[in-house]
Symmetry: C2
Subunit: 221 residues, 2 copies
């Protein structure tokens, strides 16, 4: 814990909210699931966070970040994604592990380090998963990309970014070549929430709907 004296746990909650709903309310149960805690714990923590003015909680509706909370969250995301760039581009670490490795570092990163790291890296705009890096003050820019799970059958789109966090899921997506920049055609959506059948490059791939939520794509311009 270094920046702003907020606990690691606090930073994780705020980051999770930023990652889950982009500005939208997030239900406490989604939050709890993402952070692998019980919803009772998440409720407690949300109470603490709202006492600190970092989130606002509308009972039975959900939580969202206050502007103060959003600032913190953006800063956390910035630190994480900068570390991902460093770990990938300079330390040559495994693409699928970046999120987890950078996640531990982010909470231990002083503002001086963050800023110097950004300069060292040449102020990158996105992390190796294609997600935007918020700049020093402001927040992250909105991209017009949507999850692969919302694409109509027959469309061909380009992968913009991958928002999965678990190394296992990321390894799987990598194996299917679902990487930023790739073009993907949605061949078929199997019934009963079955997998999406995709054409990625010259290969076919089957992707579960849950994983398709993590793959953000844009129309090909």
């Amino acid at each position: 814990m270094i920046a702003g004296q907020l606990s690691e746990s606090t930073e994780m909650y705020l980051k999770a909210m930023a990652e889950l709903g982009e500005g939208e309310v997030v239900s406490i149960s989604r939050l709890a699931e993402r952070l692998s805690v019980t919803s009772v714990s998440a409720n407690e923590m949300v109470r603490r966070l709202s006492e600190q003015g970092l989130v606002s909680h509308l009972p039975y509706k959900g939580v969202n970040l206050t502007s103060k909370g959003r600032d913190v969250a953006c800063n956390v995301v910035r630190r994480q994604r900068l570390w991902e760039c460093f770990l990938y581009n300079h330390l040559k670490l495994e693409w699928a592990q970046l999120y987890e490795l950078a996640c531990s570092l982010e909470h231990a990163t002083a503002p001086e380090v963050t800023d110097a790291l950004a300069v060292f890296l040449g102020n990158p705009k996105t992390c190796p998963h294609g997600n935007p890096i918020p700049d020093a003050d402001g927040c992250l820019p909105e991209l017009n990309s949507n999850p692969l799970s919302t694409v109509p059958v027959g469309d061909t789109v380009r992968v913009v970014s991958v928002r999965a966090t678990s190394t296992e899921v990321l390894r799987h997506l990598q194996k299917l070549s679902l990487l930023p920049g790739r073009e993907v055609t949605l061949l078929e959506a199997a019934p009963m929430d079955g997998p999406l059948m995709l054409k990625v490059g010259d290969r076919e791939a089957a992707l579960g709907l849950l994983m398709a939520e993590f793959v953000f794509v844009e129309p090909i311009s």
Copy 2:
């Protein structure tokens, strides 16, 4: 917390022991002082550590690292000093701040990251304060250097390393040019534990005895 599932606090205790006594027993009160905790707390913690087989405590004598504890400690020191190199050589951060900045990072550094960082940096042998960096498996090599406080009046010696940790003290040493590589002549030791009068380069400097404990020197060869 990442490497080995040991808590940050555990790592700090082990590192402090490695830094204080090089293999020797350390009194719990010295440990407590270094870590800014009460000696009651340090006693508690030492009990926990010895239950885990990381230290052995001889009541009324002191504590020392077991071989298991020493391994962990070396690894922590390695991580810290590698980060110091990175922060100094690549991020151009302030020399006096390196210890503190690297200290937060060290506990959040996975083994993969440590190893890749070492490679990236070209397996440096010392940190920017002149202290040796333990290699991946073994422990740190012993240098034949002694604190400036033990040098006889009249001698000229070379600064090998600086073991202070607080940014403030490091800034002060830097201001006096007491940096690794510098030659220093001990002009006089003032009575009543007064300061040491030094010649550093072409300037004279007065250095308190407590700070002189942190400056390690070797005879000029």
